[in-house]
Symmetry: C3
Subunit: 263 residues, 3 copies
């Protein structure tokens, strides 16, 4: 299933994407899914997190503003998602930065099945056991061979690994893609990484090949960003136009701009 076909399925099936995400970008996570045609829901209470998963078509976790209690709700939601066999996406936002974040990240990865592990280079390298230092939620520099890290981690965790950056890497351990869409302006707005994880959740909800779904989601989202950047005077207007272009994205635009390479 190609990017447009995957997008068309999102628009048609309107999958319900449950989130336990961070409080900074929660609105944008919900709204980017809405404009792509999906139906976002956020329910973090420990008494309902699991039940909401049982209605959902995918679950997106993001540890950006984690607390101990919040991680407990994440586990409940993810266990229910595992039982229902819907894809679970984790954005390991800020992994590598603090002891709490690191401990809880591994606790989550070890206690429930994550179908997609997504982060920037330094975050994913940390999860993969490579020695790097994260500076807050912005990516540090990593010298390692990122593609090799993605493949190795995908095999180890039996998950699709997504490393976002100027070139995104997507690997399920067997096949590995590079996505070269997106634009520099994305790095000047808070939340573009978090939104990517939510979009991936939406695309995975309607496509059983999760590596393809991750690629398709990134391509659609990043082409919308490219089109928005061309029409914007700065990061404020860029973000609003990103929602506009995501909403109206066409097969023609995707075909014209998509840059996917299968390694």
């Amino acid at each position: 299933m190609g990017p447009y076909e995957n997008l068309a399925k999102v628009r048609q099936q309107k999958p319900l994407i449950h989130h336990l995400t961070n409080w900074v970008t929660i609105y944008d996570c919900a709204n980017i899914l809405k404009v792509f045609g999906a139906s976002p829901v956020m329910a973090h209470a420990k008494e309902e997190a699991a039940q909401m998963s049982s209605f959902a078509n995918a679950l997106v976790l993001n540890i950006g503003t984690l607390t101990v209690d919040f991680v407990e709700s994440m586990k409940l939601a993810a266990e229910a998602a595992n039982l229902k066999k819907i894809p679970v996406i984790i954005d390991v936002c800020g992994a590598g930065a603090t002891k709490l974040r690191n401990d809880k990240c591994f606790e989550l990865l070890d206690s429930v099945k994550m179908d997609v592990i997504k982060g920037n280079a330094s975050e994913v390298a940390f999860i993969a056991g490579e020695a790097v230092k994260t500076k807050g939620v912005d990516s540090g520099k990593v010298d390692k061979d990122l593609t090799a890290i993605a493949i190795k981690l995908a095999k180890k965790r039996n998950a699709v690994v997504v490393i976002t950056g100027k070139v995104d890497i997507v690997s399920d351990g067997k096949k590995t893609y590079l996505v070269s869409n997106g634009c520099e302006m994305m790095s000047h707005v808070v939340g573009t990484g978090c939104m990517a994880a939510s979009v991936i959740g939406g695309f995975c909800a309607v496509n059983n090949d999760l590596a393809d779904a991750c690629v398709n989601g990134l391509v659609c989202y990043e082409i919308a960003a490219q089109l928005a950047a061309k029409k914007s005077k700065g990061p404020g207007t860029f973000k609003e136009k990103l929602f506009d272009f995501a909403y109206s994205l066409t097969a023609g635009q995707i075909k014209k701009y998509q840059k996917i390479r299968l390694l």
Copy 2:
């Protein structure tokens, strides 16, 4: 009091609208009130929720991201609001979706006086005891006679009932209005329902006839949305222009576009 007169009173009196609302759309709830001329405040700590109500002119509750503790704060805030006799509006966001949400919704409705109960068709039908299934926070389909449900629930709960949709229904049990303003684009942006509840809070704060206030708030808000949609290229720019048009809404625009029908 007609829509414009009610709006003018909001602008002049700048009522303080206290909120215990959800974390996804909290900014938009505050901002839509601000641009309409009211003064929003959000104070959910159990130690101050009641005291803030004692300064406020209305209280808006929204269970979109409820927790057990949060509902306790809601009760404290609502009890203080009841004592001060300021209107309490509840947005029963997602009612019908999970056991927690349902239990807490009825617990709130039974333990404090709600002056306005607002939701979409499936949420309000659930509250009214009709058998429906809510899919997350987006409305399911309801075949029942919604107007009859609104009237019955209004009488039972001694409250104004507001059912938002393509046509909004507002009933206090004695008089029932249909509002046909609004536009399709509202359904493609997260938070338009939550904002409606906040706007209703602002209009109720300065108008003793709460059914009229609900109608007036919806009319003003939805006309601003219609004007914004005409000038927008998609949901991102639509939302920003919604704030622009709400801010500058005129008597002439309201007169030209308002579609209110008293049954």
Copy 3:
């Protein structure tokens, strides 16, 4: 260091600004720093708030939606910041409104060293021990000589005091500045005050003269707002353009518009 030099340092050094802020405007606090070139992070869990301070270049606290637990995390973050000798900025959002807010405000001021105390006229007057009444988070009127209050409080608390308003007052007890930038439209959008505190955090992170840094941050932020207001049709588009202009602010624009007066 003048406003542009200070801004250039922010853009070059990309300081990490840790926040424990309110849930209403948390996105905007992060985004305004991002567009000015800094790197925002928000980590409120008590287990990591202090450790995140140890990586940060400044810490911004905002009590807008405080809870008892949240204030405990604030203390941990601020103690770590004090130890690392990075500037701590507190926005005393809503001080004077409720007992909890007042008690916790003084508890914070008395238990950790605040380097910058920022609020509107009524909030700062309250902190200074002057009898005023705050109406929610919007400023009440204050008759007192605000400049004298700022100077006195700055000496008493050994901090830079910032009173925002039509004319901003900045005093470290020795030198006192008036900043007359900004525009009326800022008062029609939620979060402009909170964003000011975050910007101040960014500018203080790279300038040891904290009074100058506060002035410089306010000047840059408020000139961006002025330029945005000129190109906007209302508060919605204003806010997006504010991010655009903050991102692209030039030495020439600052030189042309800056209105700083040293008393």
